[in-house]
C-alpha cells in the first residue's frame, strides 16, 4: 500500500489536471485551482526544508572540518543573517529602504553580477585553448559561430558596410539564425516535447516510479 496509494494519487491527479486544460466547467476548474494553490504552498515549504537541509549539511561539514569548511561558515553566516534580518524587518522586509534590501543591493547583487562578468574572461581564454577545428563539422561550426558572433554586434556591419546589404554580416547572421539554427532548434524542441509527453504518460500510468524512492 505504501507504493500503491501514491501511484494511484499521481494517476488520478495527473489525469484530472490534463482534463482541466480542456474542460472549463466549475466542477473541474475549482478543484484544479485548489490543486494549483496547493502546489504553490508545497513549493514554499520546499524552501523551508531546503534551508533547514542546507544548515544541517553545512553545520555537519564545519563540525567535522571537511574540505572547504571555512567557506561553509560564510554560507551559514549569510543564510542566518538574511533570515534574521528579514524576520526582524517583518512583513515589509523587501521594501525600498529596509536593511534586507540594503544587504541585497550591496552584497548579493554585486557578487552575482561579478560571477557572471567573470565568464567573459574565461570564454576568451577557452576560445584560445579549447576551440579546436579538427573536422569539417567543427570547421562549419566555427565559421557559423564567427559570423553570428561578429554579425550580432554593431561592429559586424561597420566592418562590412561596403558590401550590399544582403551580404553584410548582420544579414548573414540573421539568415543563419532564422534558417539552419531555427530548424535544428525546432527539431530539438519537438523531440523534447514528445519526450516530456511520454515521460508524463509513464508517470501517470505508473510505469515510471523513480520519483517515489529512486527505484525504476
Amino acid at each position: 500500500m505504501k507504493r500503491e496509494i501514491p501511484l494511484m494519487a499521481t494517476a488520478v491527479i495527473g489525469i484530472f489536471m490534463i482534463l482541466s486544460f480542456f474542460v472549463p466547467h466549475q466542477l473541474v476548474s475549482v478543484p484544479a485551482d485548489f490543486l494549483q494553490t496547493s502546489a504553490v504552498i508545497v513549493v514554499a515549504f520546499g524552501y523551508v526544508l531546503g534551508g533547514a537541509n542546507a544548515l544541517r549539511i553545512n553545520f555537519d561539514a564545519i563540525y567535522k572540518r571537511r574540505e572547504g569548511w571555512p567557506y561553509k561558515i560564510v554560507l551559514v553566516a549569510g543564510l542566518l543573517t538574511m533570515v534574521t534580518v528579514g524576520a526582524i524587518e517583518g512583513r515589509g522586509f523587501q521594501g525600498e529602504h529596509t536593511r534586507f534590501t540594503w544587504i541585497y543591493n550591496s552584497v548579493y547583487s554585486p557578487m552575482q553580477s561579478t560571477m557572471f562578468a567573470l565568464l567573459a574572461f574565461y570564454i576568451a581564454s577557452a576560445a584560445f585553448r579549447a576551440f579546436r577545428i579538427r573536422t569539417l563539422e567543427a570547421a562549419l561550426l566555427a565559421v557559423a559561430a564567427l559570423i553570428v558572433m561578429i554579425g550580432r554586434v554593431p561592429i559586424g556591419d561597420w566592418l562590412t558596410h561596403a558590401l550590399p546589404a544582403p551580404y553584410r554580416l548582420s544579414a548573414l547572421q540573421e539568415w543563419i539564425m532564422d534558417n539552419p539554427q531555427n530548424s535544428a532548434k525546432r527539431a530539438i524542441l519537438i523531440g523534447a516535447a514528445l519526450g516530456v509527453m511520454a515521460t508524463g504518460l509513464r508517470v501517470i500510468l505508473g510505469l515510471e516510479r523513480s520519483y517515489l524512492s529512486g527505484e525504476d
Partner: protein, 275 residues
C-alpha cells in the same frame, strides 16, 4: 623555446587583461558604431505602439543580478515606452534572486517619469511556485499575489481595481533570463489564456525563442544587450545597452581572434611535428 611552444604555454592572464581593457576603455571613451534594427526588435516595438493608450500591461521580470546588463536596460526602456503611452504596468517576478533588483529598477523609472506607485505601476514582487504561479494568475492575480513587494495589500492600490486575471491585459511582456520565464509563459499561458506575449531575453537563450516567434506564439523578441540596444534606438534613447554595444563588439572580435589564433597555433604545432 620555439614560438609555437611559447604561444602554447602563453600566460592566460594576458588574455584576461586584454578582455578587461577592451571592455573598460570604450566605456570611458565611447566609439560611435551604427546599430541596425532587426525585424524582431521592430515587432516588439510595434506591439507596444499598437497598445491602446492607457492600457494596463502585465510585465513579468524573471531574472536576477546575473542578467542585469542585458535585461535591466530592456526593463527600463519598456517601462519608459509604456509610461510615454500613458499605460500602466503591473510587475511580477518568479525568480527568488530578482525581486530586489526588479523593484529598484521599476521605482527608479517610475520616479524619473513622475509616475505614482500604486496608481501608474505596482510591483507585486516574488511568488514561489514556478509554472503553478503562472497558471494560478490565470484564475486570479490578486489572490496569487495578496501583497506587493513592500508588503502592502495588493487590492488596496487603485491600479489593481478591475484586475482579475490575464484577461485584464491586452499584452504580457516577459523579460526573462531562463527558467521560469518566457518559455514557460508561452507553454502555460499563451495557449490556455489566449494572451499576446512579447519577450526580452538574454542573448544566450534568444535562439530558443525564434521558433515561437515564427509560429506567432511570441509577437516580438529582444535578444540580449544587442536587442536592448536596437529597442533603445527605436525609442530614440541612448541608454546602458547602446553604451554597452561597443565593449561587447570589441570583446566579440577578440574572442573570434582567440579562436583563430588558438587554431593557428595548433596548426603550426602539427606542421612542426610532421617536419
Amino acid at each position: 623555446m620555439s614560438l609555437v611552444k611559447r604561444l602554447e604555454t602563453f600566460d592566460r592572464r594576458w588574455i584576461f587583461l586584454t578582455v578587461g581593457l577592451l571592455v573598460l576603455l570604450p566605456l570611458i571613451w565611447p566609439v560611435p558604431l551604427p546599430i541596425t534594427v532587426g525585424p524582431r526588435a521592430q515587432k516588439f516595438y510595434d506591439a507596444i505602439e499598437a497598445l491602446p493608450e492607457g492600457s494596463t500591461v502585465l510585465l513579468a521580470c524573471d531574472y536576477d543580478p546575473g542578467a542585469k546588463p542585458e535585461l535591466v536596460p530592456m526593463t527600463r526602456s519598456v517601462l519608459r515606452h509604456l509610461f510615454a503611452r500613458h499605460c500602466k504596468a503591473i510587475i511580477t517576478c518568479l525568480w527568488n534572486g530578482g525581486p530586489g533588483l526588479v523593484d529598484q529598477t521599476v521605482r527608479e523609472v517610475g520616479r524619473e517619469q513622475g509616475k505614482v506607485y500604486g496608481v501608474d505601476y505596482v510591483d507585486l514582487g516574488y511568488k514561489a511556485g514556478y509554472e503553478a504561479v503562472m497558471v494560478l494568475m490565470g484564475q486570479s492575480i490578486p489572490n496569487t499575489f495578496p501583497t506587493d513587494q513592500s508588503g502592502g495589500v495588493t487590492t488596496s492600490y487603485p491600479i489593481m481595481q478591475g484586475i482579475r486575471n490575464y484577461s485584464s491585459f491586452p499584452i504580457l511582456i516577459s523579460i526573462s533570463a531562463g527558467y521560469p520565464g518566457t518559455k514557460e509563459y508561452v507553454q502555460q499561458v499563451e495557449g490556455r489564456f489566449h494572451i499576446k506575449i512579447i519577450a526580452g531575453v538574454t542573448a544566450v537563450s534568444a535562439p530558443e525563442f525564434y521558433a515561437y516567434l515564427q509560429s506567432g506564439q511570441l509577437q516580438g523578441l529582444l535578444g540580449g544587450m544587442a536587442g536592448a540596444a536596437e529597442y533603445e534606438k527605436l525609442r530614440g534613447e541612448s541608454g546602458a545597452a547602446t553604451r554597452g554595444m561597443v565593449p561587447q563588439s570589441f570583446a566579440h572580435v577578440f574572442i573570434a581572434f582567440c579562436i583563430l589564433a588558438g587554431n593557428a597555433v595548433q596548426w603550426l604545432k602539427r606542421r612542426e611535428k610532421s617536419a
